[in-house]
């Protein structure tokens, strides 16, 4: 459905050109939920934004071997054509729902806008459809709620409105960037249930971007782990947790205090990943993770490993698996 090949995003900064996304290739099948996990600065959000081209250009520059959605080459589209696609064929939801909604308009009106703009519906019809959408995402008393302004809604309700708006265009692909990070855990659980339900019901393909391996485990079938702009591991969710291969993936998984684990501070320290993420304008020769890696070898400092398929569907960028 979505095919990305050799996608790179560079930013021109006053300290030179940095590569935020480095030759990334992957695809998403119809109805599939793909997760992208990584820490701040790994390039996961830039990657998503480059797919729907909402990066400021310049300073950003996108290069790709291939970027196609259902056969449409996204790189060939003019900005006007791209605008038509956004909000309809492909939509994106963000972490902070307050900033994605216009504070001056009622939420029902804002959802209706999608129906007016992309489907040419008359106002009354569009409002009717937007009330249906609010009901679909589990907002109680949707007719009344449609008349609310964003500030009158709780964080969880606002995120439901955002999801309703994203779904209004009946998209083939939904990009969700940390959709539950700003929410309380009980509300997060409800929104995750809603996202799963929508995926099962509508067959919308989704890319879920998160730093939270727990959210990954909840929702997605396949995962990409990113580090310093590169894919370091790509595999099924099951493999990610049961048979992780990249030392970074292993470190991430082991450093989280798990609520199901009996381990306490009296049982010894948590597993740490030493050091911190390298700056994008100061990357080492060789493997980008070498400075923090407990399994570093000489070759890691000399040459950069490539992403290799080590078993069917399991890709890893590490000399250990060469």
């Amino acid at each position: 459905m979505l095919t990305v090949r050799d996608l790179s995003v560079e930013f021109t900064t006053d300290r030179g050109v940095v590569t935020a996304v480095d030759r990334v290739s992957f695809s998403v099948d119809k109805g599939e939920m793909l997760g992208i996990v990584g820490e701040s600065g790994c390039g996961k959000s830039v990657l998503a934004r480059s797919i729907i081209r909402i990066l400021p250009m310049p300073p950003a520059r996108i290069r790709a071997g291939q970027l196609t959605l259902d056969g449409t080459n996204l790189l060939d589209l003019s900005e006007r054509e791209m605008q038509k696609l956004r909000g309809k064929a492909v939509t994106m939801i963000f972490q902070e729902p307050m900033t994605s909604l216009n504070p001056k308009f009622k939420v029902g009106y804002q959802i209706a806008e999608v129906f007016r703009k992309h489907f040419g519906l008359r106002s009354s019809e569009a409002i009717e459809r937007s009330v249906e959408m609010l009901a679909l995402v589990g907002i109680p008393d949707p007719e009344e709620r449609a008349k609310s302004y964003p500030f009158q809604l709780s964080g969880g309700m606002r995120q439901r409105v955002i999801i309703a708006m994203a779904l209004a265009g009946d998209p083939q692909l939904l990009l969700a960037d940390e959709p539950t990070t700003a929410l309380d855990v009980t509300i997060q659980a409800q929104i995750l249930d809603l996202i799963r339900e929508i995926n099962e019901r509508s067959g919308t393909s989704m890319i879920l971007i998160t730093h939270d391996l727990g959210v990954i485990a909840e929702l997605v079938q396949r995962v990409i782990v990113m580090y310093a702009g590169q894919i370091v591991e790509m595999t099924t969710t099951e493999n990610l947790f049961d048979r992780p291969l990249h030392p970074y993936t292993v470190g991430l998984r082991n450093s989280i205090p798990d609520i199901d684990s009996p381990v306490s501070k009296y049982d010894g320290p948590l597993n740490e990943i030493a050091g911190s993420v390298p700056a994008l304008d100061d990357l080492p020769i060789g493997c980008y993770f070498q400075g923090r890696c407990p399994k570093r070898m000489q070759v890691c400092a000399d040459r950069q490993p490539v992403l290799k398929e080590v078993s069917p569907g399991h890709h890893v960028r590490c000399w250990l698996n060469d």
Binding site: D212, P257, I259, I273
Partner: protein
């Protein structure tokens, strides 16, 4: 935890209430009251970590602010080493401020941006006249190294450091004056996953070395479970459950605690096993429900819950919960 606090208590809070009066204006004649804290009691012993858990609006930050003497409670008492903190003045207040330090979620917001790190760390020494002035630079260097930074980090400005390094500076600043209690308000929530474990390990090491007590405020139950000795769960300004860490996680009594635990996404193939049974959202604290504050979301709610406020009662040895029907086995139809 409730009425009796042991004699070796460092901090104790008794029936603390903090009401905020919403301004009456000419449009709204009836001024309403938000009960941010509604009769909260707890204590912390020397060298112990008390985890404080709850979602937004539960009152955990207001409680932390009252303990830090930033907010004045409406009623109730806070005793630090036996003295009422609201009565302190002069040297005694200064001594309290020295013994009670704080670490915030966002170190960027809590470090003066135009001061170099060495000056940020030296300032508390100057204020509290710790060490001779020619020794203070040495104390700063030692502390930098103790929290895992290098001496040359002292010459940097906060914006030149990473998030994890900034949090190390915030921890170092709190420790400069050798406090007895540190209020840590979501100290790792803003950090990357790979950095969180580093900071948690550092906090645990420092606790042993300096015999520190922590009030560890967090929404992350995994972190709380790892670091805490005892845990308090808050909901809408009240403590709904309090127990040792082992007891709370092994057999929670309050339906809210149980739901909170089942709602955490688990990093494991397959994810959560339990269904989340918490309905709806936290009600507005301006207009809280009658009876049990949790009854609007509780799957076990019965008519008594809508009228009568449950008191925090001992359900097992040292394990308190505020629920009319704390029996975990019986499922009641709505």
């Amino acid at each position: 935890m409730t009425d009796s606090s042991p004699s070796d208590t460092l901090l104790s809070v008794h029936e603390l209430r903090k009401y905020f009066h919403l301004n009456s204006s000419f449009l709204h004649r009836s001024g309403k009251t938000v009960k941010a804290l509604d009769g909260v009691s707890l204590h912390i012993k020397p060298g112990e970590t008390l985890g404080l858990v709850g979602e937004s609006g539960c009152g955990k930050t207001t409680l932390a602010k009252c303990i830090l003497n930033i907010e004045t409670p409406s009623s109730g008492q806070i005793l630090f080493e036996g003295a009422r903190i609201n009565d302190l003045s002069g040297e005694n207040l200064k001594s309290l401020r020295r013994n009670l330090q704080v670490i915030f979620q966002d170190p960027f917001g809590s470090l003066t941006p135009r001061m170099r790190v060495s000056r940020i760390l030296r300032e508390p020494l100057d204020v509290h006249s710790i060490g001779k002035s020619d020794q203070r630079a040495q104390l700063v260097t030692e502390m930098l190294e103790r929290v895992g930074l290098r001496a040359d980090h002292g010459t940097r400005f906060p914006h030149e450091l990473s998030g994890g390094q900034r949090q190390r500076v915030a921890i170092a600043r709190a420790l400069m004056v050798k406090p007895r209690l540190i209020v840590a308000d979501e100290p790792v929530s803003a950090l990357d996953v790979s950095i969180q474990a580093q900071i948690i390990n550092l906090l645990v090491d420092l606790q042993r070395e300096y015999h520190l007590s922590y009030l560890f405020v967090s929404h992350d139950l995994g972190v709380v479970k790892y670091i805490s000795d005892r845990v308090v769960v808050m909901y809408l300004g009240k403590i709904v459950e309090a127990a040792t860490r082992d007891d709370l996680f092994a057999k929670p009594f309050h339906p809210y605690t149980i739901s909170l635990m089942s709602a955490i996404p688990v990093p494991r193939a397959g994810g959560r096993t339990a269904e989340v049974d918490v309905k709806g959202e936290v009600p507005s604290p301006i207009n809280p429900p009658s009876g049990c504050p949790y009854h609007t979301r509780c799957h076990k709610s019965r008519s008594r819950c809508t009228t009568e406020i449950p008191q925090l009662r001992q359900q097992a040895e040292g394990h308190y919960a505020a629920c009319h029907y704390p029996d975990r086995e019986v499922k009641v139809d709505a």
